[in-house]
Subunit: 194 residues, 2 copies
Amino acid sequence: MATDTRERILDASRVLFARRGYAGTGIKQILAEADAAFASLYHFFPGGKDQLAAEAIRTSGAMYQQLVEGVLDAAPDLLTGIIDCFAGAAETLRATGYADACPIATVALEVASTDETLRQATADVFASWITALTTRIVSVGVDEATATELAISTIALLEGAFVLSRTLRSTVPMTAAGQTATEAARAVLKRAQS
Amino acid sequence: MATDTRERILDASRVLFARRGYAGTGIKQILAEADAAFASLYHFFPGGKDQLAAEAIRTSGAMYQQLVEGVLDAAPDLLTGIIDCFAGAAETLRATGYADACPIATVALEVASTDETLRQATADVFASWITALTTRIVSVGVDEATATELAISTIALLEGAFVLSRTLRSTVPMTAAGQTATEAARAVLKRAQS
């Protein structure tokens, strides 16, 4: 039961921080969504909102990575996996009224110049995503430097398309970015395998 | 003098909203930075913080577009212009301690699901950037659909790299994204001119 309360607080935080950002999300709002008492926040997160946000960022970053790795694992090859990730992101945007996108980018931009603890949490998540994708690209025969550049560019295309698609309330940017990511990956894989 | 106060409030707002976001920027902080009295805010912006933010977003979006168009105009060709834009963004990130990036993305992600007035302001800015870049790409002989896709992908790469470079405090993502944007543009231009 105690663990349930802690998890409910984290669940509510992940959703609210992703959709409204860090400063725009109030503690009262989190507790109301989580159906939790004020005392439980400081019981489970003695460091308050900052500690809660750092844990929300790290866990939602890991959950999103797991989701993406699941899509890549289910695909017959890496190129198809990348196509599926962008198509899935577009479908999720459409299905949620352009609310659900990257779980940490909103907070990442807010805190980059103002909160070193939270910046580090967001940096660790992005670094983990880049490493995981780089490893997959290396595993199909691409050299480390080229794989790193392709992994970073693929994630940049996804992040940039999230900004544009949420703002414009359209899947067109996600589809265009997916096309460019696919072409970039195809060119790299072709060079590596020739 | 009155106009000066209005401009100082807008200048301070543009910088603070870009670096700290909408919810994270207080009216008191804007007025302190602008050296302006509380009454002047409601004198010049009767709609308060929301009206001020909408005008800050529209004007900083237009200023940034002018900056980028200047870089593109100064380059001997479009491909070199795109390379110069990404190199310039990397240099600005480094020179400002990873603070100065896209002037509106932080607010865009915060408001996309919560504030229709501000979402529309950020959408108008991105739409204007996409149209301007598409027009340039069409002018060198690329068909409209391909040009739109390349323009969107180039802006997505820039926006995504801003998120990653600010968060990781590194120019590596901006350089990688610039490389991918250049290769995408080179491929499109080669097909159009062959």
